[in-house]
Protein backbone atom coordinates (compact mmCIF):
# COMPACT_ATOMS: atom_id res chain seq x y z
CA UNK A 1 0.00 0.00 0.00
CA UNK A 2 2.74 2.40 1.03
CA UNK A 3 6.24 1.84 -0.18
CA UNK A 4 9.21 3.94 0.83
CA UNK A 5 12.61 3.53 -0.78
CA UNK A 6 15.88 5.09 0.36
CA UNK A 7 14.15 8.06 1.88
CA UNK A 8 16.39 10.83 3.21
CA UNK A 9 15.47 13.99 5.02
CA UNK A 10 18.49 16.18 5.60
CA UNK A 11 18.50 19.52 7.35
CA UNK A 12 21.33 21.81 6.54
CA UNK A 13 22.55 24.77 8.47
CA UNK A 14 23.99 27.18 5.96
CA UNK A 15 27.32 28.72 6.62
CA UNK A 16 26.84 32.20 8.02
CA UNK A 17 29.51 34.93 8.07
CA UNK A 18 30.11 34.12 11.74
CA UNK A 19 30.74 30.47 10.92
CA UNK A 20 33.10 31.53 8.17
CA UNK A 21 34.92 33.71 10.68
CA UNK A 22 35.42 30.72 12.97
CA UNK A 23 35.93 28.38 10.00
CA UNK A 24 33.08 26.13 10.95
CA UNK A 25 31.47 25.45 7.60
CA UNK A 26 27.92 24.22 7.09
CA UNK A 27 26.49 21.37 9.14
CA UNK A 28 24.09 18.67 8.10
CA UNK A 29 21.61 16.75 10.18
CA UNK A 30 20.38 13.45 8.81
CA UNK A 31 16.96 13.27 10.45
CA UNK A 32 15.85 10.40 8.24
CA UNK A 33 18.69 8.42 6.78
CA UNK A 34 18.13 5.89 4.01
CA UNK A 35 14.82 4.52 5.25
CA UNK A 36 13.06 1.85 3.20
CA UNK A 37 9.86 0.28 4.36
CA UNK A 38 6.60 -1.19 3.20
CA UNK A 39 3.19 -1.05 4.74
CA UNK A 40 0.72 -3.68 3.60
CA UNK A 41 -3.02 -3.27 3.44
CA UNK A 42 -4.80 -3.87 6.75
CA UNK A 43 -1.75 -4.12 8.95
CA UNK A 44 -0.45 -1.94 11.77
CA UNK A 45 3.18 -1.00 11.55
CA UNK A 46 4.70 0.15 14.83
CA UNK A 47 7.58 2.61 14.68
CA UNK A 48 9.63 2.75 17.91
CA UNK A 49 12.63 4.71 19.00
CA UNK A 50 13.88 7.17 21.58
CA UNK A 51 13.51 10.92 21.31
CA UNK A 52 15.42 12.39 18.39
CA UNK A 53 15.59 9.18 16.39
CA UNK A 54 13.61 10.65 13.50
CA UNK A 55 10.33 8.79 13.86
CA UNK A 56 8.18 11.92 13.79
CA UNK A 57 10.15 13.45 10.92
CA UNK A 58 9.72 10.22 8.99
CA UNK A 59 5.96 10.15 9.35
CA UNK A 60 5.59 13.83 8.55
CA UNK A 61 7.66 13.30 5.44
CA UNK A 62 5.40 10.38 4.48
CA UNK A 63 2.44 12.74 4.88
CA UNK A 64 4.30 15.19 2.67
CA UNK A 65 4.18 17.79 5.42
CA UNK A 66 7.94 17.96 4.93
CA UNK A 67 9.62 17.80 1.55
CA UNK A 68 11.85 14.71 1.28
CA UNK A 69 15.48 15.36 0.34
CA UNK A 70 15.83 12.22 -1.75
CA UNK A 71 14.26 8.78 -2.20
CA UNK A 72 10.78 7.80 -3.29
CA UNK A 73 7.43 7.37 -1.59
CA UNK A 74 4.68 5.54 -3.41
CA UNK A 75 1.18 5.26 -2.07
CA UNK A 76 -1.52 3.04 -3.63
CA UNK A 77 0.77 2.43 -6.58
CA UNK A 78 1.29 6.11 -7.27
CA UNK A 79 4.54 8.02 -6.81
CA UNK A 80 3.77 10.83 -4.37
CA UNK A 81 7.35 11.91 -3.66
CA UNK A 82 6.92 15.18 -5.49
CA UNK A 83 3.16 15.51 -5.81
CA UNK A 84 2.20 19.14 -6.26
CA UNK A 85 0.43 20.95 -3.46
CA UNK A 86 -2.75 21.12 -5.54
CA UNK A 87 -2.87 17.31 -5.74
CA UNK A 88 -2.22 16.79 -2.06
CA UNK A 89 -5.89 17.42 -1.39
CA UNK A 90 -6.74 14.19 -3.16
CA UNK A 91 -3.96 12.42 -1.29
CA UNK A 92 -5.31 13.47 2.10
CA UNK A 93 -8.63 11.87 1.30
CA UNK A 94 -6.85 8.50 1.66
CA UNK A 95 -4.21 9.41 4.20
CA UNK A 96 -4.95 10.98 7.57
CA UNK A 97 -3.04 11.71 10.71
CA UNK A 98 -3.62 11.83 14.47
CA UNK A 99 -1.15 13.99 16.38
CA UNK A 100 0.42 13.58 19.78
CA UNK A 101 -0.94 16.51 21.71
CA UNK A 102 -4.74 16.68 21.76
CA UNK A 103 -4.52 20.12 23.38
CA UNK A 104 -2.82 21.83 20.45
CA UNK A 105 -4.13 19.80 17.51
CA UNK A 106 -7.75 20.96 17.89
CA UNK A 107 -8.80 24.51 17.05
CA UNK A 108 -10.10 26.01 20.33
CA UNK A 109 -12.44 28.37 18.48
CA UNK A 110 -14.35 25.70 16.55
CA UNK A 111 -17.02 23.40 17.89
CA UNK A 112 -16.62 19.67 17.36
CA UNK A 113 -19.30 19.79 14.68
CA UNK A 114 -17.60 22.61 12.77
CA UNK A 115 -14.31 20.75 12.84
CA UNK A 116 -15.78 17.51 11.55
CA UNK A 117 -18.05 19.26 9.02
CA UNK A 118 -15.07 21.11 7.56
CA UNK A 119 -13.29 17.88 6.76
CA UNK A 120 -16.47 16.27 5.42
CA UNK A 121 -17.31 19.24 3.18
CA UNK A 122 -13.75 19.59 1.95
CA UNK A 123 -13.64 16.03 0.70
CA UNK A 124 -17.30 15.92 -0.41
CA UNK A 125 -18.31 12.97 1.77
CA UNK A 126 -21.92 14.06 2.30
CA UNK A 127 -24.24 15.95 -0.02
CA UNK A 128 -26.87 17.57 2.15
CA UNK A 129 -26.76 19.33 5.51
CA UNK A 130 -29.00 16.72 7.07
CA UNK A 131 -26.85 13.90 5.83
CA UNK A 132 -23.80 15.62 7.33
CA UNK A 133 -25.48 15.97 10.72
CA UNK A 134 -26.41 12.31 10.80
CA UNK A 135 -22.95 11.30 9.70
CA UNK A 136 -21.35 13.38 12.46
CA UNK A 137 -23.64 11.84 15.08
CA UNK A 138 -22.67 8.37 13.89
CA UNK A 139 -18.97 9.28 13.89
CA UNK A 140 -19.12 10.56 17.46
CA UNK A 141 -20.85 7.42 18.58
CA UNK A 142 -18.25 5.32 16.85
CA UNK A 143 -15.40 6.95 18.78
CA UNK A 144 -17.30 6.66 22.07
CA UNK A 145 -18.60 10.21 22.44
CA UNK A 146 -22.11 11.50 22.89
CA UNK A 147 -23.82 12.86 19.72
CA UNK A 148 -24.92 15.75 21.93
CA UNK A 149 -21.27 16.77 22.33
CA UNK A 150 -21.17 18.08 18.76
CA UNK A 151 -21.98 21.66 19.74
CA UNK A 152 -19.28 21.88 22.41
CA UNK A 153 -15.84 23.47 22.14
CA UNK A 154 -12.63 21.49 22.78
CA UNK A 155 -12.11 23.12 26.18
CA UNK A 156 -15.13 21.19 27.50
CA UNK A 157 -13.35 17.87 27.00
CA UNK A 158 -10.65 15.95 28.85
CA UNK A 159 -7.44 14.83 27.15
CA UNK A 160 -8.78 11.39 26.30
CA UNK A 161 -12.00 12.80 24.87
CA UNK A 162 -10.03 15.30 22.79
CA UNK A 163 -7.99 12.50 21.34
CA UNK A 164 -11.27 10.78 20.43
CA UNK A 165 -12.34 13.94 18.58
CA UNK A 166 -9.01 14.02 16.74
CA UNK A 167 -9.55 10.39 15.74
CA UNK A 168 -13.12 11.12 14.62
CA UNK A 169 -11.82 13.97 12.45
CA UNK A 170 -9.21 11.70 10.90
CA UNK A 171 -11.60 8.86 10.07
CA UNK A 172 -14.39 11.22 8.94
CA UNK A 173 -13.07 11.24 5.38
CA UNK A 174 -12.85 7.43 5.27
CA UNK A 175 -9.09 7.22 4.79
CA UNK A 176 -7.27 4.02 3.86
CA UNK A 177 -4.13 4.84 5.83
CA UNK A 178 -4.02 6.38 9.30
CA UNK A 179 -0.74 7.71 10.66
CA UNK A 180 -0.84 8.05 14.45
CA UNK A 181 2.09 9.97 15.94
CA UNK A 182 2.34 9.14 19.66
CA UNK A 183 -1.45 9.30 20.04
CA UNK A 184 -1.47 8.05 23.63
CA UNK A 185 1.72 9.53 25.08
CA UNK A 186 -0.02 12.55 26.60
CA UNK A 187 -2.71 10.42 28.26
CA UNK A 188 -2.97 8.65 31.60
CA UNK A 189 -2.73 4.87 31.58
CA UNK A 190 -6.40 4.17 32.25
CA UNK A 191 -7.39 6.46 29.37
CA UNK A 192 -4.53 5.24 27.21
CA UNK A 193 -5.97 1.73 27.29
CA UNK A 194 -9.36 3.07 26.14
CA UNK A 195 -7.83 4.87 23.15
CA UNK A 196 -5.68 1.87 22.18
CA UNK A 197 -8.75 -0.35 22.21
CA UNK A 198 -10.69 2.22 20.18
CA UNK A 199 -7.97 2.36 17.53
CA UNK A 200 -7.92 -1.42 17.36
CA UNK A 201 -11.69 -1.63 16.93
CA UNK A 202 -11.77 1.06 14.27
CA UNK A 203 -9.02 -0.64 12.39
CA UNK A 204 -10.95 -3.89 12.34
CA UNK A 205 -14.31 -2.33 11.45
CA UNK A 206 -13.08 0.14 8.83
CA UNK A 207 -10.27 -2.06 7.48
CA UNK A 208 -7.78 0.71 8.15
CA UNK A 209 -4.08 0.42 7.61
CA UNK A 210 -2.13 2.11 10.35
CA UNK A 211 1.33 3.42 11.09
CA UNK A 212 1.63 3.76 14.85
CA UNK A 213 4.50 5.77 16.28
CA UNK A 214 5.50 5.55 19.91
CA UNK A 215 8.47 5.58 22.23
CA UNK A 216 6.68 3.12 24.52
CA UNK A 217 7.64 -0.44 23.63
CA UNK A 218 4.78 -2.10 25.49
CA UNK A 219 2.21 0.03 23.67
CA UNK A 220 3.75 -0.78 20.29
CA UNK A 221 3.82 -4.46 21.12
CA UNK A 222 0.14 -4.35 22.05
CA UNK A 223 -1.12 -2.73 18.88
CA UNK A 224 1.24 -3.66 16.03
CA UNK A 225 1.52 -6.56 13.61
CA UNK A 226 4.93 -5.48 12.43
CA UNK A 227 7.54 -3.30 14.10
CA UNK A 228 10.40 -1.11 12.91
CA UNK A 229 12.97 0.11 15.44
CA UNK A 230 14.73 3.39 14.66
CA UNK A 231 17.99 4.80 15.97
CA UNK A 232 19.47 8.11 14.85
CA UNK A 233 17.56 8.33 11.58
CA UNK A 234 18.02 4.73 10.51
CA UNK A 235 15.86 1.67 10.83
CA UNK A 236 18.00 -0.79 12.78
CA UNK A 237 15.59 -3.70 12.98
CA UNK A 238 12.29 -4.66 11.46
CA UNK A 239 10.14 -7.74 11.63
CA UNK A 240 6.85 -9.10 12.88
CA UNK A 241 5.99 -8.13 16.45
CA UNK A 242 6.82 -11.64 17.62
CA UNK A 243 10.22 -11.66 15.96
CA UNK A 244 11.31 -8.25 17.21
CA UNK A 245 10.09 -8.74 20.78
CA UNK A 246 11.01 -12.39 21.26
CA UNK A 247 14.15 -12.69 19.15
CA UNK A 248 15.59 -9.20 19.07
CA UNK A 249 18.72 -9.35 16.92
CA UNK A 250 20.10 -5.84 17.00
CA UNK A 251 22.02 -4.97 20.20
CA UNK A 252 20.04 -1.71 20.42
CA UNK A 253 16.69 -3.49 20.35
CA UNK A 254 17.97 -5.91 22.97
CA UNK A 255 19.09 -3.07 25.23
CA UNK A 256 15.89 -1.13 24.70
CA UNK A 257 13.77 -4.13 25.65
CA UNK A 258 15.86 -4.88 28.70
CA UNK A 259 15.56 -1.29 29.96
CA UNK A 260 11.77 -1.34 30.31
CA UNK A 261 10.76 -1.64 33.97
CA UNK A 262 8.52 -4.70 34.46
CA UNK A 263 5.50 -4.93 36.69
CA UNK A 264 6.79 -7.93 38.60
CA UNK A 265 8.12 -6.92 42.00
CA UNK A 266 11.02 -8.96 43.27
CA UNK A 267 11.99 -10.34 39.89
CA UNK A 268 15.42 -9.27 38.77
CA UNK A 269 15.38 -8.62 35.06
CA UNK A 270 18.40 -9.16 32.91
CA UNK A 271 19.73 -5.72 32.17
CA UNK A 272 21.89 -4.67 29.30
CA UNK A 273 23.00 -1.24 30.38
CA UNK A 274 23.94 1.20 27.68
CA UNK A 275 26.59 3.73 28.49
CA UNK A 276 26.00 7.39 27.90
CA UNK A 277 23.44 9.08 25.71
CA UNK A 278 22.78 8.95 21.98
CA UNK A 279 25.49 10.94 20.17
CA UNK A 280 24.73 14.16 18.34
CA UNK A 281 23.04 13.45 15.01
CA UNK A 282 25.20 15.97 13.13
CA UNK A 283 27.52 14.61 10.48
CA UNK A 284 27.08 10.93 11.16
CA UNK A 285 28.19 9.17 8.06
CA UNK A 286 30.67 6.42 8.54
CA UNK A 287 30.14 3.18 10.36
CA UNK A 288 27.31 2.00 12.53
CA UNK A 289 25.44 4.79 14.30
CA UNK A 290 25.15 2.69 17.42
CA UNK A 291 28.92 2.15 17.63
CA UNK A 292 29.55 4.54 20.54
CA UNK A 293 27.08 2.80 22.88
CA UNK A 294 27.06 -0.77 21.62
CA UNK A 295 28.08 -3.42 24.15
CA UNK A 296 29.05 -5.80 21.31
CA UNK A 297 30.95 -3.41 19.06
CA UNK A 298 33.75 -4.69 16.85
CA UNK A 299 36.45 -2.97 14.84
CA UNK A 300 34.51 -3.28 11.59
CA UNK A 301 31.52 -1.36 13.04
CA UNK A 302 33.51 1.84 13.30
CA UNK A 303 34.16 2.14 9.59
CA UNK A 304 31.62 0.06 7.69
CA UNK A 305 27.93 0.87 7.77
CA UNK A 306 26.02 -2.40 8.10
CA UNK A 307 23.13 -3.10 5.73
CA UNK A 308 19.81 -4.52 6.81
CA UNK A 309 20.63 -8.23 6.82
CA UNK A 310 17.69 -10.58 6.33
CA UNK A 311 17.21 -13.06 9.19
CA UNK A 312 13.98 -14.50 7.89
CA UNK A 313 11.51 -13.53 5.21
CA UNK A 314 10.12 -10.78 7.40
CA UNK A 315 12.90 -10.10 9.87
CA UNK A 316 15.88 -7.84 9.19
CA UNK A 317 18.58 -6.29 11.37
CA UNK A 318 21.18 -3.65 10.59
CA UNK A 319 24.10 -5.25 12.39
CA UNK A 320 27.31 -7.00 11.35
CA UNK A 321 26.62 -9.68 13.95
CA UNK A 322 23.29 -10.51 12.34
CA UNK A 323 25.13 -11.55 9.21
CA UNK A 324 27.01 -14.24 11.07
CA UNK A 325 23.96 -15.75 12.74
Amino acid sequence: MLKVEHLHKVYEKKESWLDRLFQKGSVRLYAVNDVSLEVREGETLGLVGESGCGKTTLCRTLMRLYEPTSGTISFLGEDITHTKASNLRKLYKDMQMVFQDPYSSLNPKMTVKEMLAEAIRFHGICRTEKETDEYIARLLQKVGLNPGDAEKYPKAFSGGQRQRIAIARAIAVKPRLLIADEPVSALDVSVQAQILNLLEELQRDLKLTMIFISHDLSVVKYISNRVAVMYLGRIVETGTTDEVFHQPSHPYTQALLSAVPRMQPGRERERITLEGDPPSPFEMNRGCHFYSRCPKRMEVCRTVTPDLFPLSETHQARCHLAKEQ
Binding site: S158, D188, S190, A193, Q194, L196, D216, V219, L256, R262
Partner: protein, 325 residues
Protein backbone atom coordinates in the same frame (compact mmCIF):
# COMPACT_ATOMS: atom_id res chain seq x y z
CA UNK B 1 10.91 3.63 66.46
CA UNK B 2 9.15 6.70 65.14
CA UNK B 3 8.89 6.85 61.36
CA UNK B 4 11.13 9.22 59.43
CA UNK B 5 8.21 11.05 57.85
CA UNK B 6 4.62 10.96 58.91
CA UNK B 7 1.96 12.70 56.86
CA UNK B 8 -1.24 13.06 58.89
CA UNK B 9 -4.62 14.01 57.47
CA UNK B 10 -3.09 16.34 54.92
CA UNK B 11 -5.46 18.56 52.97
CA UNK B 12 -4.52 21.00 50.22
CA UNK B 13 -7.03 23.40 48.68
CA UNK B 14 -6.09 25.60 45.76
CA UNK B 15 -8.07 28.83 45.95
CA UNK B 16 -8.91 30.60 42.72
CA UNK B 17 -10.97 33.73 42.25
CA UNK B 18 -14.15 31.95 41.28
CA UNK B 19 -13.64 28.43 42.58
CA UNK B 20 -11.47 26.18 44.68
CA UNK B 21 -9.84 22.90 43.72
CA UNK B 22 -9.67 20.27 46.41
CA UNK B 23 -6.35 18.74 45.35
CA UNK B 24 -5.44 16.62 48.38
CA UNK B 25 -8.07 15.21 50.72
CA UNK B 26 -7.21 13.66 54.05
CA UNK B 27 -4.02 11.90 53.01
CA UNK B 28 -2.03 10.01 55.65
CA UNK B 29 0.97 7.74 55.26
CA UNK B 30 4.43 7.15 56.70
CA UNK B 31 7.93 6.71 55.31
CA UNK B 32 10.34 4.76 57.49
CA UNK B 33 14.08 5.02 57.48
CA UNK B 34 15.82 3.27 54.59
CA UNK B 35 12.54 2.55 52.86
CA UNK B 36 11.31 3.53 49.40
CA UNK B 37 7.66 4.48 49.31
CA UNK B 38 5.95 4.95 45.97
CA UNK B 39 3.28 7.62 45.63
CA UNK B 40 1.31 6.48 42.60
CA UNK B 41 -1.56 8.01 40.69
CA UNK B 42 -2.63 9.51 37.41
CA UNK B 43 -2.48 13.21 36.60
CA UNK B 44 -4.66 15.20 38.98
CA UNK B 45 -4.44 12.60 41.73
CA UNK B 46 -2.60 15.03 44.02
CA UNK B 47 0.67 13.12 44.16
CA UNK B 48 2.89 16.08 43.27
CA UNK B 49 0.93 18.42 45.53
CA UNK B 50 1.44 16.04 48.45
CA UNK B 51 5.14 15.79 47.68
CA UNK B 52 5.58 19.54 47.43
CA UNK B 53 3.68 20.36 50.57
CA UNK B 54 6.22 18.34 52.53
CA UNK B 55 8.81 21.05 51.92
CA UNK B 56 6.20 23.80 51.83
CA UNK B 57 6.89 24.51 48.17
CA UNK B 58 3.28 25.14 47.21
CA UNK B 59 2.52 28.53 45.71
CA UNK B 60 1.29 30.75 48.54
CA UNK B 61 -1.23 32.26 49.18
CA UNK B 62 -3.31 30.27 46.69
CA UNK B 63 -2.77 26.96 48.43
CA UNK B 64 -4.14 26.29 51.87
CA UNK B 65 -2.91 23.29 53.80
CA UNK B 66 -4.37 21.51 56.79
CA UNK B 67 -3.12 18.56 58.81
CA UNK B 68 0.44 17.88 59.85
CA UNK B 69 3.65 16.55 58.35
CA UNK B 70 6.02 15.21 60.98
CA UNK B 71 9.66 14.81 59.96
CA UNK B 72 11.80 13.27 62.71
CA UNK B 73 9.19 14.45 65.17
CA UNK B 74 8.95 18.08 63.99
CA UNK B 75 5.90 19.46 62.19
CA UNK B 76 7.08 20.90 58.88
CA UNK B 77 3.79 22.63 58.15
CA UNK B 78 3.97 24.63 61.38
CA UNK B 79 7.67 25.43 61.01
CA UNK B 80 8.71 29.04 60.36
CA UNK B 81 10.26 29.65 56.94
CA UNK B 82 13.69 30.43 58.39
CA UNK B 83 13.90 27.09 60.13
CA UNK B 84 12.46 25.27 57.14
CA UNK B 85 15.32 26.53 55.00
CA UNK B 86 17.67 24.50 57.16
CA UNK B 87 15.67 21.39 56.42
CA UNK B 88 15.37 21.87 52.66
CA UNK B 89 18.39 20.52 50.88
CA UNK B 90 20.07 19.48 54.11
CA UNK B 91 17.90 16.95 55.87
CA UNK B 92 15.47 16.46 53.00
CA UNK B 93 16.73 16.44 49.41
CA UNK B 94 14.50 16.83 46.40
CA UNK B 95 14.71 15.89 42.72
CA UNK B 96 12.23 17.50 40.35
CA UNK B 97 10.78 16.11 37.18
CA UNK B 98 12.27 18.44 34.63
CA UNK B 99 16.07 18.73 34.75
CA UNK B 100 15.94 21.44 32.08
CA UNK B 101 14.16 23.98 34.22
CA UNK B 102 15.35 23.08 37.69
CA UNK B 103 18.99 23.99 37.11
CA UNK B 104 19.97 27.64 36.77
CA UNK B 105 21.19 28.17 33.18
CA UNK B 106 23.52 31.08 34.00
CA UNK B 107 25.59 29.30 36.64
CA UNK B 108 28.08 26.54 36.15
CA UNK B 109 27.08 23.11 37.45
CA UNK B 110 29.86 23.30 40.03
CA UNK B 111 28.67 26.70 41.32
CA UNK B 112 25.24 25.30 42.00
CA UNK B 113 26.50 22.30 43.94
CA UNK B 114 28.97 24.46 45.88
CA UNK B 115 26.17 26.88 46.78
CA UNK B 116 24.12 24.06 48.29
CA UNK B 117 27.13 22.76 50.21
CA UNK B 118 28.19 26.15 51.58
CA UNK B 119 24.66 27.10 52.59
CA UNK B 120 24.29 24.11 54.86
CA UNK B 121 27.81 23.21 55.94
CA UNK B 122 30.87 24.92 57.37
CA UNK B 123 33.13 24.26 54.42
CA UNK B 124 35.76 26.32 52.61
CA UNK B 125 35.47 27.21 48.92
CA UNK B 126 38.27 24.93 47.80
CA UNK B 127 37.05 22.00 49.82
CA UNK B 128 33.51 22.54 48.50
CA UNK B 129 34.69 22.40 44.88
CA UNK B 130 36.62 19.23 45.60
CA UNK B 131 33.50 17.77 47.21
CA UNK B 132 31.43 18.79 44.15
CA UNK B 133 33.77 16.81 41.90
CA UNK B 134 33.52 13.89 44.30
CA UNK B 135 29.70 14.06 44.22
CA UNK B 136 29.59 14.11 40.43
CA UNK B 137 31.82 11.05 40.40
CA UNK B 138 29.50 9.37 42.89
CA UNK B 139 26.48 9.83 40.58
CA UNK B 140 28.40 8.34 37.67
CA UNK B 141 29.32 11.36 35.57
CA UNK B 142 32.43 10.65 33.48
CA UNK B 143 35.38 13.07 33.85
CA UNK B 144 33.73 15.06 36.66
CA UNK B 145 36.66 17.46 37.04
CA UNK B 146 35.77 18.84 33.60
CA UNK B 147 32.02 18.72 34.03
CA UNK B 148 31.95 20.95 37.14
CA UNK B 149 33.09 23.82 34.92
CA UNK B 150 30.31 23.36 32.38
CA UNK B 151 26.92 25.04 32.15
CA UNK B 152 23.66 23.06 32.22
CA UNK B 153 23.06 23.52 28.49
CA UNK B 154 26.27 21.64 27.76
CA UNK B 155 24.90 18.51 29.43
CA UNK B 156 22.32 16.02 28.15
CA UNK B 157 19.03 15.36 29.93
CA UNK B 158 20.32 12.28 31.74
CA UNK B 159 23.46 14.13 32.86
CA UNK B 160 21.41 17.05 34.18
CA UNK B 161 19.24 14.69 36.17
CA UNK B 162 22.43 13.19 37.63
CA UNK B 163 23.58 16.68 38.60
CA UNK B 164 20.21 17.24 40.29
CA UNK B 165 20.68 14.01 42.21
CA UNK B 166 24.21 15.03 43.18
CA UNK B 167 22.85 18.30 44.60
CA UNK B 168 20.06 16.53 46.41
CA UNK B 169 22.40 14.11 48.18
CA UNK B 170 25.21 16.63 48.76
CA UNK B 171 24.35 17.13 52.45
CA UNK B 172 23.59 13.48 53.16
CA UNK B 173 19.83 13.93 53.63
CA UNK B 174 17.81 11.43 55.64
CA UNK B 175 14.93 11.63 53.17
CA UNK B 176 14.91 12.09 49.41
CA UNK B 177 11.81 13.33 47.62
CA UNK B 178 11.83 12.30 43.97
CA UNK B 179 8.99 13.82 41.94
CA UNK B 180 8.77 11.86 38.67
CA UNK B 181 12.58 11.80 38.39
CA UNK B 182 12.71 9.92 35.08
CA UNK B 183 9.58 11.00 33.23
CA UNK B 184 11.46 13.38 30.95
CA UNK B 185 14.09 10.77 30.06
CA UNK B 186 14.36 8.03 27.44
CA UNK B 187 14.03 4.41 28.62
CA UNK B 188 17.70 3.53 28.32
CA UNK B 189 18.68 6.64 30.28
CA UNK B 190 15.82 6.12 32.74
CA UNK B 191 17.25 2.70 33.50
CA UNK B 192 20.64 4.25 34.33
CA UNK B 193 19.08 6.83 36.68
CA UNK B 194 16.92 4.25 38.47
CA UNK B 195 19.95 2.05 39.09
CA UNK B 196 21.81 5.05 40.44
CA UNK B 197 19.01 5.84 42.90
CA UNK B 198 18.94 2.24 44.08
CA UNK B 199 22.69 2.25 44.65
CA UNK B 200 22.65 5.56 46.54
CA UNK B 201 19.82 4.38 48.76
CA UNK B 202 21.80 1.27 49.65
CA UNK B 203 24.97 3.25 50.34
CA UNK B 204 23.41 6.08 52.33
CA UNK B 205 20.47 4.33 53.96
CA UNK B 206 18.08 7.20 53.29
CA UNK B 207 14.32 7.00 52.91
CA UNK B 208 12.91 7.80 49.47
CA UNK B 209 9.47 9.08 48.59
CA UNK B 210 9.13 8.32 44.89
CA UNK B 211 6.30 10.04 43.04
CA UNK B 212 5.50 8.36 39.74
CA UNK B 213 2.73 7.29 37.42
CA UNK B 214 4.73 4.39 36.00
CA UNK B 215 3.77 1.11 37.67
CA UNK B 216 6.82 -0.66 36.24
CA UNK B 217 9.09 1.74 38.12
CA UNK B 218 7.05 1.20 41.27
CA UNK B 219 7.42 -2.57 41.01
CA UNK B 220 11.19 -2.35 40.66
CA UNK B 221 12.03 0.46 43.08
CA UNK B 222 9.59 0.53 45.96
CA UNK B 223 9.09 -1.36 49.21
CA UNK B 224 5.63 0.04 49.89
CA UNK B 225 3.07 1.82 47.71
CA UNK B 226 0.49 4.53 48.36
CA UNK B 227 -2.15 4.69 45.60
CA UNK B 228 -3.85 8.06 45.17
CA UNK B 229 -6.95 8.94 43.18
CA UNK B 230 -8.55 12.39 43.03
CA UNK B 231 -6.59 13.46 46.10
CA UNK B 232 -7.60 10.51 48.26
CA UNK B 233 -5.64 7.49 49.41
CA UNK B 234 -7.18 4.40 47.82
CA UNK B 235 -4.78 1.76 49.05
CA UNK B 236 -1.54 1.34 50.97
CA UNK B 237 0.36 -1.94 50.93
CA UNK B 238 3.69 -3.60 50.31
CA UNK B 239 4.67 -3.69 46.65
CA UNK B 240 4.14 -7.46 46.46
CA UNK B 241 0.60 -7.21 47.77
CA UNK B 242 -0.36 -4.29 45.54
CA UNK B 243 0.45 -6.28 42.41
CA UNK B 244 -0.53 -9.76 43.58
CA UNK B 245 -3.76 -9.02 45.46
CA UNK B 246 -4.99 -5.45 45.16
CA UNK B 247 -7.91 -4.68 47.48
CA UNK B 248 -9.24 -1.63 45.68
CA UNK B 249 -11.00 -1.62 42.33
CA UNK B 250 -9.03 1.43 41.19
CA UNK B 251 -5.67 -0.21 41.83
CA UNK B 252 -6.86 -3.30 40.03
CA UNK B 253 -8.14 -1.31 37.05
CA UNK B 254 -4.90 0.67 36.88
CA UNK B 255 -2.77 -2.47 36.81
CA UNK B 256 -4.98 -3.99 34.12
CA UNK B 257 -4.72 -0.94 31.85
CA UNK B 258 -0.95 -1.10 31.51
CA UNK B 259 0.29 -2.91 28.41
CA UNK B 260 3.12 -5.25 29.35
CA UNK B 261 5.96 -6.77 27.41
CA UNK B 262 5.68 -10.22 28.98
CA UNK B 263 1.91 -10.52 28.92
CA UNK B 264 -0.42 -10.75 25.96
CA UNK B 265 -4.16 -10.30 26.02
CA UNK B 266 -6.65 -7.50 25.73
CA UNK B 267 -6.26 -4.43 27.89
CA UNK B 268 -9.22 -3.58 30.04
CA UNK B 269 -8.87 0.14 30.65
CA UNK B 270 -11.12 2.06 33.00
CA UNK B 271 -14.20 3.68 31.46
CA UNK B 272 -14.86 7.38 32.09
CA UNK B 273 -12.47 10.04 33.34
CA UNK B 274 -11.40 11.82 36.52
CA UNK B 275 -14.17 13.55 38.54
CA UNK B 276 -14.34 17.34 38.76
CA UNK B 277 -12.47 18.38 41.87
CA UNK B 278 -13.99 21.79 42.50
CA UNK B 279 -16.10 20.34 45.30
CA UNK B 280 -14.89 18.54 48.40
CA UNK B 281 -14.77 14.82 47.75
CA UNK B 282 -17.42 12.94 49.69
CA UNK B 283 -17.26 9.18 49.77
CA UNK B 284 -15.24 7.23 47.24
CA UNK B 285 -14.14 9.45 44.31
CA UNK B 286 -13.85 6.40 42.07
CA UNK B 287 -17.45 5.23 42.45
CA UNK B 288 -18.66 6.65 39.12
CA UNK B 289 -16.15 4.54 37.20
CA UNK B 290 -16.32 1.49 39.46
CA UNK B 291 -18.21 -1.66 38.46
CA UNK B 292 -18.75 -2.64 42.11
CA UNK B 293 -20.17 0.71 43.28
CA UNK B 294 -23.17 0.73 45.59
CA UNK B 295 -25.01 3.49 47.45
CA UNK B 296 -22.78 3.17 50.48
CA UNK B 297 -19.79 4.26 48.37
CA UNK B 298 -21.10 7.84 48.44
CA UNK B 299 -20.86 8.00 52.22
CA UNK B 300 -17.76 9.36 53.86
CA UNK B 301 -17.81 7.28 57.01
CA UNK B 302 -17.92 4.04 54.99
CA UNK B 303 -14.94 4.84 52.80
CA UNK B 304 -12.25 5.44 55.41
CA UNK B 305 -9.02 3.51 55.15
CA UNK B 306 -9.26 0.21 56.98
CA UNK B 307 -6.61 -2.41 57.57
CA UNK B 308 -7.72 -5.43 55.55
CA UNK B 309 -4.69 -7.51 56.49
CA UNK B 310 -1.54 -6.64 58.46
CA UNK B 311 0.08 -3.64 56.77
CA UNK B 312 -2.46 -3.59 53.93
CA UNK B 313 -4.92 -0.68 53.97
CA UNK B 314 -7.78 -0.05 51.57
CA UNK B 315 -10.51 2.56 51.43
CA UNK B 316 -12.85 0.28 49.47
CA UNK B 317 -15.88 -1.10 51.31
CA UNK B 318 -16.05 -3.88 48.75
CA UNK B 319 -12.43 -4.92 49.24
CA UNK B 320 -13.42 -8.55 49.62
CA UNK B 321 -15.34 -8.53 46.35
CA UNK B 322 -12.36 -6.89 44.62
CA UNK B 323 -10.32 -9.85 45.70
CA UNK B 324 -12.73 -12.30 44.15
CA UNK B 325 -13.61 -10.44 40.93
Amino acid sequence: MAPLLEVKELEVVIKRKDRSVYAVNNVSFVVRQGETVGLVGESGSGKSMTCRSILNLLPRPHCQTKGSILFEGEDLLAMPERKLQQVRGKRIGMIMQDPMSSLDPVYRVGDQIVETLRTHQQIGKKAAWARAVELLRQVGIPSPEKRVWQYPHELSGGMRQRVMIAMAISCMPRLLLADEPTTALDVTVQDQVLRLLQRLKREMGMGILLVTHNLGIVAEMCDRVVVLYAGKVMEIASVEKIFASPRNMYTKGLIRSVPQLDVTGRLEGIPGSLPVMTQPVVGCPFRERCPLATEDCARDEKTRLIEVSPGHWSSCIHHERVCRS
